[in-house]
Symmetry: C2
Amino acid sequence: MTMEDMTSATWAPLSNAKFNRTIIERGVNLKDVACLPISLGWFGKKEENRRLIKVQCYSMEDTANFYMRPIEGLTVLLDMDTKEVVEVSDTGRSIPIPKATNTDYRFSEQKLQQDLNSVNPISIEQPKGPSFVIEDEHLVKWANWEFHLKPDTRAGVVVSRAKVRDLESGVLRDVMYKGFTSELFVPYMDPTDAWYFKTYMDAGEYGFGLQAMPLDPLNDCPRNAYYMDGVFAAGDGVPYVRSNMVCVFERYTGDIGWRHAESPITGMEIKEVRPKVTLVVRMAASVANYDYIVDWEFQTDGLIRIKVGLSGILMVKGTAYENMNQVEGQENLFGTLLSENVIGVIHDHYITFYLDMDIDGSDNSFVNVNIKRQETSPGESPRKSYLKAVRNVAKTEKDAQIQLKLYDPSEFHVINPTKKTRVGNPVGYKVVPGGTAASLLDHEDPPQKRGAFTNNQIWVTQYNRSEQWAGGLFVYQSHGEDTLDVWSERDRPIENKDIVVWYTLGFHHIPCQEDFPIMPTVSSSFDLKPVNFFESNPILRAPPYFEKDLPVCRPAYSA
Amino acid sequence: MTMEDMTSATWAPLSNAKFNRTIIERGVNLKDVACLPISLGWFGKKEENRRLIKVQCYSMEDTANFYMRPIEGLTVLLDMDTKEVVEVSDTGRSIPIPKATNTDYRFSEQKLQQDLNSVNPISIEQPKGPSFVIEDEHLVKWANWEFHLKPDTRAGVVVSRAKVRDLESGVLRDVMYKGFTSELFVPYMDPTDAWYFKTYMDAGEYGFGLQAMPLDPLNDCPRNAYYMDGVFAAGDGVPYVRSNMVCVFERYTGDIGWRHAESPITGMEIKEVRPKVTLVVRMAASVANYDYIVDWEFQTDGLIRIKVGLSGILMVKGTAYENMNQVEGQENLFGTLLSENVIGVIHDHYITFYLDMDIDGSDNSFVNVNIKRQETSPGESPRKSYLKAVRNVAKTEKDAQIQLKLYDPSEFHVINPTKKTRVGNPVGYKVVPGGTAASLLDHEDPPQKRGAFTNNQIWVTQYNRSEQWAGGLFVYQSHGEDTLDVWSERDRPIENKDIVVWYTLGFHHIPCQEDFPIMPTVSSSFDLKPVNFFESNPILRAPPYFEKDLPVCRPAYSA
């Protein structure tokens, strides 16, 4: 969809008499109606051969947070090209529109109150300025890293040609040819008429970069951040600037790069600690109600952490219930009663990353280093068991369809099979999952077919320039015929080839009252981490902090 | 063990002629020998009825990092009380002692080199000082939190009576009566003679707090940190002060508490972002070679994050191999060749936390909120499936023996069944696992019997004042007869009772060359997070940052 498709869809229902009548009959002024363009997925013949979209509306009377005031059960099916109203489904008339009370989140609207959260000003300060340079507006050089950064309408941010300098040889070494958010899949867990189709694919349908608004200096990124604009084409081809779309900043969090103190046991007087300073690239996409914060964080020890934060506003459902004591027995609300007449519907978030790793060159292999219990033979040892690492090189794509298992764990290495360290280990990086979730929908469910790239958490494919978007190049109303799942089933050879690793970060979200009226950020991450890539700890020689080097600060005048 | 047990054990072998002879024959000067006291676990009758310990030694010639120079295969079995040498096992004479080259990690020993890691000074600054107060030396009051902090020889740090202020009512509400590191389990994965017994339980055997050395200001904790001493009793009962054992600091990392920008779709001019400021309590224990960094981080949104970082130095094994090309076929090295003659042996780390939750009072219930696929009935919906949340209240302890499953996920709520929110949800907190690992050893393996508290990732027990240490009160040479596993098998009622939640954070560690000669920090965490505890987002009214409030900083004079 173009931005023009989306914005014009939000106004189109107002030209329909039936729509206007039901709005007025529900007691809402037409001037207070705010509508959202909702991609409708694909569930069969009905959605074929024309560009359709669904529109649902909210009352914005007395609040900027109209998302909390759904006009429940009213769904308009539109032809996206002609703006013709194809169908108005109007089922929830008995459901009241939730009140505006306590829904506004703007600072200007908060009642005065002794603020228990106030803390003395605290800030990341770097008065000599940043240590990175950005050449040609896009090539970031920081510490031992170099990479190219590109705002992108679909992916948000593309990080490419990431290279890290080897401190032993001084050589810049390839790590990743290109990495980006390839697709999102956000299925809601309510099969009823006004909800079943909510199974968003935010990158391919809405444009993850298209929805990235200018960042808020000091709040979205710390004071020492540099901002980068995006330059995009509008629907009519005219270029426009999305200012401050991406920020880049160095970060010191008080975390420790490495440390060792000799323990009291040895009595040696040694204490060596190195602070950790990193470089963060951030963007935040506001896909209507939801806000996604995507960080690429580069560490001097070679690690890249990719973190996704979720904030913003829930997509909620109106209900007649005001209290859980009105709910009988086993009735399924499809979510949590968050406030009177407001249900936060259960949903998942999957964010699938494209990671074209190039470890010291483009031809790499994927190794599943399986951690397996080995029982000892009778008499071999007082131990009955131990764990060993069994290396399995993936020959073809099906060997690298990975579902993570706590009780059958592995490390996932991308190695260069032709390059060894001094002592003979293949150089590599590993994908290190963090907290995550797996899609549990039926594989034959239409949304899961379209989102089949979430059937595994890790996939590895042979590089193919037409396979960049995990849900397919054309996702809107797609049937799931051009997904990562389909490509991987071709089972091409991937040993010592130019390969792409795909990692999906997932969240199950059962809303809770703390998510009302706006959600505290929840985040999770995964890492790309050197594994026998360097000969030894690459930050061994990093200096500690000394008091004499740190900034001299005083409180602000006005404080 | 007392510190005196440990330190005297390290010297005792030098009184043994056979030991001294083999040291000299291996080409090591007796003055260069550094030895470690190694708890020997329990593997049968042999270790019964006397306090035994094993001692292994290293050469500290030409390096402070003697851990990288093992005298392989030499194990001395000592009587800990009499210091009598019971047995000298001397098997690895053909294995050379690895060279000292490139092993020293001290800043003073680093060769001058253009430092590619150097960045302009960056720091967390808070020139008006911290926003917390510490009353009676131990009661921390910060923002909406209050809790008591106690350094402890066994647990390290004990956080107790943690309460959070409800911003609606102004009332301080109970969250956690007591939380601490109850036990660690660190089994090495090598069944051979000099290694099989290395299955440490660092809290109960060595004293997690006893091994916590003074923190390094500016490097272990940022400049704005406050330090707290520990006061402990030595083996002879005489008190001593462990200065700067714990630090407390406010942290701003550039992360976002919550945000929403209206998307281009709606065109509304709204951008509201709140920075996240937290309070961190930190200690670092150096259990001989390894360093554990334990953080308790308090957020104003009510979340408590417990994070464990691993750094320090690997326990390595000497080998005749200098390159992997010398290793034949399927030979099992039990680890990774890290440098010439040095193998980093595979091992696990488990850190088990005691969490006596008191959600608005001591009597709570544990609810497994299972996320289950529900297939729709034919004709019910265009969707074939969706996920629903099924609440199962644990009646007894066996109902709450939880192994985490990606494909059968749950949320784990501790609720107060007698207290409901305005709209009727039970108030609660949830345990949110992050990246973790499970022990895969045979349950009948002696170390796993002693470490049986790692058989599940979550357990819930009825409070019992004698059940605080997951591996048992007396862990040294224990047989596994007094563990959390044994207590839980009693299957006591836990519904609406004073209950204790146990969470185990795990790591599998296959060493890599980057871990040589000292390891970059690896960390993981889990959260205690409010779930319908508050009526709504408790940080809704938190203010954003304004430029006028932030510090004014300049570079240091000397910089």
